[in-house]
């Protein structure tokens, strides 16, 4: 049957290129395999290699074509394709079309695959004798990724998930009565079904953030780049060239370390700016899953340097490089299998590819480890042990700490996997973040101190005097600086007791030591030659990262706490915590920390159900004044509820951060309240739910600044004092206007008390005052606000670390080139 309005050509092309990429990648890996095996013959070195290169090039073209076609489909809103319908909508801004590309797991797999292609091309250009064995591994990984996009059925088992599936084939419309002929779901779809699909499902509002445009590409470049050290390690074991891979792999691993690190922290920046848990890191399984390979890679890069300079730790290097990639695969398994369902906020749901994901893990882990064990006797190692005063000894300890930390974090993150295998029901501890922090704080102390001093040690051995001569000045400066920070910084985090506070202090001292000692080393160690100081710069940056984490976490303040001016004493034994949320009534300032905060107005997004709330902050102690505009999607796509995006004000030394945590629901707050009549005289009081009213005086006036008040009209004004128990006093004026015998009342509203007062009648000195209490008259928002101090120390630290690592990478590449020339 022909359906009206469908564009089938892009999908057909897409299917073609998916098949082509599957075939090309397996041909490339086989040809590279042959080229490696027969490296000494012309056939191997020339023909097989040539075939392999052509196949890989076809693979590259295919993957890029798939990417372009899928983007074409999303860009042109071809909702006959499930991917476009599921992840995008017509109202989506152009920049977010990319985000919806990688929202789905097919798109993210494709992104990963694209980076492998780019890196593969670089390897073909630079790999020389390593090209064939390394590219066999890379091509084989590409083949595995390609299978994830096929969506083929092998008997009952579905392999992968195809991004070009048509909406009508996806099962989504199967039970949609109106879409079928004669409104009968057993009949085929109507030929004009597409007319009824007006818009797509849209991108998850939380992902409509600029960080989501760039964080996934960088993170996936990080993921993809870990394949290169892995492929080198496998190639070296396979071809028994155990030592000369080091030279080439070093810049690759440094590149991977920088990009993966930056990618992870861009995710943290996204969480900070668009999620509402109030921070950049929550030890969420998905975050941990990408951190673990990075930690192992740090260990790997350091053992690589140890080997290069001292000949030790080659076996550990192999192990770490293999495990880095295996843990990347494990993180893919964790996020895409749905196993984290209960424990993570943002994992993909089960995509039905668990068998495939587990087999990838097995295919790459088991043979690699067996290969490593089999060949481990052949791997050169130095019998003599490292001197305790040598740099390599302490570097190795540092690497070991990183590796074991990675294992601990991974084990904790794997609780859901453990539950699945053993059928247990173990859940995270009560304070999950603290369960991580209380361990990692000690790791931070050890790593901070090692980062500070190890550069001052020499490889092989160091004499005591030489070491002390160089390090004593930085040490003293660090002690002074750390003392100053602790003294003036008022680091007083009491939540977990004195022991933990002591650990925080020690960690701050260690971080400061790492910063200062590494800064000093640029002059003391390498005489200010910036070219040589990539290592010191990255370590300095890492020290700043530690310091930023420690300061921002231990000095984070909830501004919206305890600030309503309502003194509520819950009593010492009470479980009640002082509230962390504050309700602001439009136009009425509330005290929040040193600020008077007012909800001024709101505005709607022209195309979406997204509202911006203007929250004005005015300091009582200085002239500071600013407006934050947190926004929220309200009842998004017909789903009742609120999805909030925070806004923050950035200062050099802190951020003020706020988001909307609740809004009134206009649907549910229908105005059902009525005016309750109260016969009173002047001086009488009337009680209402939050206080009492006193009728202060009644006066008659014949002129009023009131629209529609004509000469000759008379007005009676009742002045009523409103005495709120919680918010203080107000004055209301209720009017009763007499227009030539026709009377009408003009009520007065006390917004913050949700109170409307009306003068019903006046007879002599007895009045009738109507009192109405209604929430519907009120416009208010409930928000949460934080102060994050020194968050910039963290962000700057990350940038410096990455720059330092990349400087080292450039230096290593230059050294390799010089070596080649010589």
């Amino acid at each position: 049957m022909d359906y009206i309005g469908e564009h089938l050509l892009p999908g057909q092309l897409g299917h073609f290129f998916i098949t082509l990429s599957l075939v090309a990648s397996i041909v490339a890996s086989f040809a590279y395999f042959k080229a490696t095996r027969h490296v000494d013959t012309v056939a191997g070195d020339y023909y097989w290699k040539k075939l392999a290169r052509i196949a890989f090039l076809i693979e590259v073209v295919s993957v890029f074509s798939i990417f372009i076609i899928l983007f074409y489909i999303i860009y042109n809103h071809l909702f006959e394709y499930k991917y476009a319908w599921q992840h995008s909508s017509r109202s989506l801004e152009f920049k977010y079309l990319l985000s919806c590309f990688w929202e789905g797991q097919e798109g993210s797999t494709l992104l990963w695959s694209i980076w492998h292609c780019v890196l593969g091309l670089v390897l073909i250009k630079t790999g020389k004798t390593w090209e064939a064995p390394v590219m066999s591994v890379v091509s084989f990984v590409q083949f595995c990724l390609a299978t994830m996009l096929t969506g083929l059925y092998i008997f009952e088992w579905k392999m992968g998930s195809n991004p070009f599936t048509l909406l009508r084939d996806s099962g989504v419309l199967d039970n949609a009565v109106g879409m079928h002929m004669n409104a009968d779901i057993t009949q085929p779809l109507r030929p004009d079904y597409l007319n009824f699909i007006k818009d797509g499902n849209d991108l998850n509002p939380l992902l409509q953030n600029y960080w989501m445009v760039i964080h996934p590409p960088v993170l996936f470049l990080g993921f993809a780049s870990t394949l290169i050290p892995f492929a080198f390690a496998i190639a070296a074991l396979w071809t028994r060239r155990y030592t000369d891979w080091i030279k080439q792999v070093l810049p690759w691993s440094l590149f991977s370390l920088a990009v993966l690190g930056v990618g992870i922290m861009m995710g943290a920046a996204w969480a900070y700016e668009s999620l509402t848990f109030g921070g950049y890191w929550a030890w969420d399984p998905v975050e941990n899953a990408s951190l673990v390979p990075w930690l192992i890679l740090v260990a790997g890069v350091h053992t690589l340097l140890i080997y290069k300079h001292s000949g030790h730790s080659l076996k550990s290097t192999f192990l770490f490089m293999i495990l880095t990639f295996v843990f990347i695969l494990y993180s893919t398994f964790l996020t895409k299998s749905g196993v984290l369902g209960e424990s993570s906020v943002h994992a993909f749901t089960d995509s039905g590819m668990n068998v495939q994901l587990v087999s990838f893990l097995a295919i790459f882990f088991i043979p690699s480890i067996i290969l490593l064990i089999n060949r481990s006797k052949e791997i050169p190692a130095i019998r003599k042990e490292e001197a305790t005063s040598s740099r390599e000894f302490w570097m190795f300890i540092g690497s070991l700490v990183f590796f074991l930390t990675a294992i601990v974090i991974s084990a904790k993150t794997s609780l859901p996997v453990f539950n699945k295998i053993f059928g247990t029901k173990i859940a995270a501890p009560e304070d999950e973040e603290f369960a991580y922090n209380q361990i990692q704080i000690h790791v931070a102390i050890i790593i901070g101190i090692l980062t500070a001093i190890v550069q001052y040690l020499r490889y092989k051995s160091t004499t005591g005097t030489a070491f002390w001569k160089k390090i004593w000045i930085p040490t003293i400066i660090s002690i002074l600086a750390a003392t100053a920070i602790l003294y003036f910084g008022d680091i007083n985090y009491q939540t977990h007791g004195a022991g933990y506070l002591g650990a925080i202090w020690l960690a701050i001292i260690a971080a400061v030591y790492a910063i200062i000692a590494n800064a000093a080393y640029i002059w003391v160690g390498v005489n200010g030659k910036l070219k040589l100081s990539g290592g010191s710069i990255s370590h300095l940056g890492f020290g700043l990262v530690l310091l930023g984490i420690l300061l921002s976490s231990s000095k984070k303040e909830i501004l919206s706490r305890n600030s309503s001016g309502i003194a509520i004493d819950f009593g010492k034994e009470s479980k009640e915590k002082a509230g962390e949320n504050l309700t602001l009534v439009k136009g009425f300032p509330m005290k929040m920390g040193k600020f008077d905060v007012t909800y001024e107005k709101d505005s709607a997004h022209p195309k979406k159900q997204q509202w911006y709330y203007f929250i004005h902050f005015k300091s009582r102690t200085d002239k500071e004044e600013f407006t934050l505009k947190p926004n929220a999607f309200v009842n998004y796509k017909g789903n009742e509820g609120l999805m909030a995006n925070p806004d923050s004000r950035h200062y050099l030394d802190h951020d003020v951060f706020t988001y909307i945590s609740a809004l009134p629901n206009p649907e549910k707050n229908k105005d059902t309240a009525t005016f309750k009549p109260n016969p009173v005289r002047t001086g009488d009081s009337i009680f209402y739910s939050k206080g009492y009213l006193i009728v202060e005086k009644v006066a008659t006036r014949d002129s009023l600044p009131f629209d529609g008040f004509r000469p000759g009209d008379k007005a009676t004004v009742a002045t009523i004092g409103v005495h709120s128990l919680t918010r203080g006093n107000y004055t209301a004026e209720a009017l009763l206007i007499d227009q030539g015998g026709k009377q009408f009342a003009v009520p007065d509203t006390i917004m913050p008390e949700s109170l409307i007062l009306q003068l019903n009648s006046v007879t002599g000195d007895s009045l009738n005052i109507g009192v109405k209490e209604s929430n519907t008259i009120l416009e208010y928002v409930t928000l949460k606000a934080y102060k994050f101090p020194y968050i910039n120390v963290l962000w700057i630290g990350i940038i410096i670390t990455a720059i330092g690592i990349l400087m080292s990478m450039v230096r290593r590449i230059q050294l390799n080139r010089q070596l080649k020339k010589a």
């Binding site: 039970n175 409104a183 007006k198 499902n201 042990e385 305790t388 300890i397 294992i407 859940a427 949320n581």
Partner: protein, 141 residues
């Protein structure tokens, strides 16, 4: 034995010790009945919001008090109080992971994790809406 081996052993021992102590602090996933059977103990209660029972939240009165009824898959229900506003996706969540303690007849909740319906069901919901739309437009056959 080399120094490095001793350090390796110490490191591995420390790792195991850390993991054992972690396991001792873990909690459990529970139903209403099992949560009630251990009052005062921190648990992860798996339940959903019972939309038929009243939900109490008045931001003007106290923005830090939410109370509702949670019902588990066995049909048992419990009153929950939570000292924050409704979490995101609360209304559409088909399952809630309520972290807290059962005490004195109520479940005192420290944090709520919402679990959205799977993508597939999401699609079905949206598809249903499309259907309604199409039925409104379409002339009856």
């Amino acid at each position: 034995m080399k120094k490095i081996h001793i350090i390796l052993l110490v490191g591995i021992a420390a790792t195991i010790a850390v993991l054992i102590s972690f396991l001792q602090n873990t909690s459990t996933y529970d139903t209403v009945d099992t949560a009630m059977s251990k009052p005062g103990k921190f648990v992860h209660l798996m339940a959903r919001w019972d939309k038929d029972s009243p939900l109490e939240y008045d931001a003007l009165n106290n923005p830090n008090y939410l109370s509702f009824t949670a019902v588990d898959t066995l049909g048992k229900s419990v009153k929950v109080i939570y000292h924050q506003p409704k979490p995101e996706n609360f209304e559409i969540s088909e399952r809630l992971v309520l972290k807290g303690k059962y005490q004195d007849g109520i479940f005192d909740c420290q944090s709520i994790q919402t679990k959205c319906p799977s993508k597939y069901k999401d699609d079905m919901e949206a598809a249903k809406k499309n259907v309604q739309m199409s039925q409104a437009i379409e002339p009856k056959p």
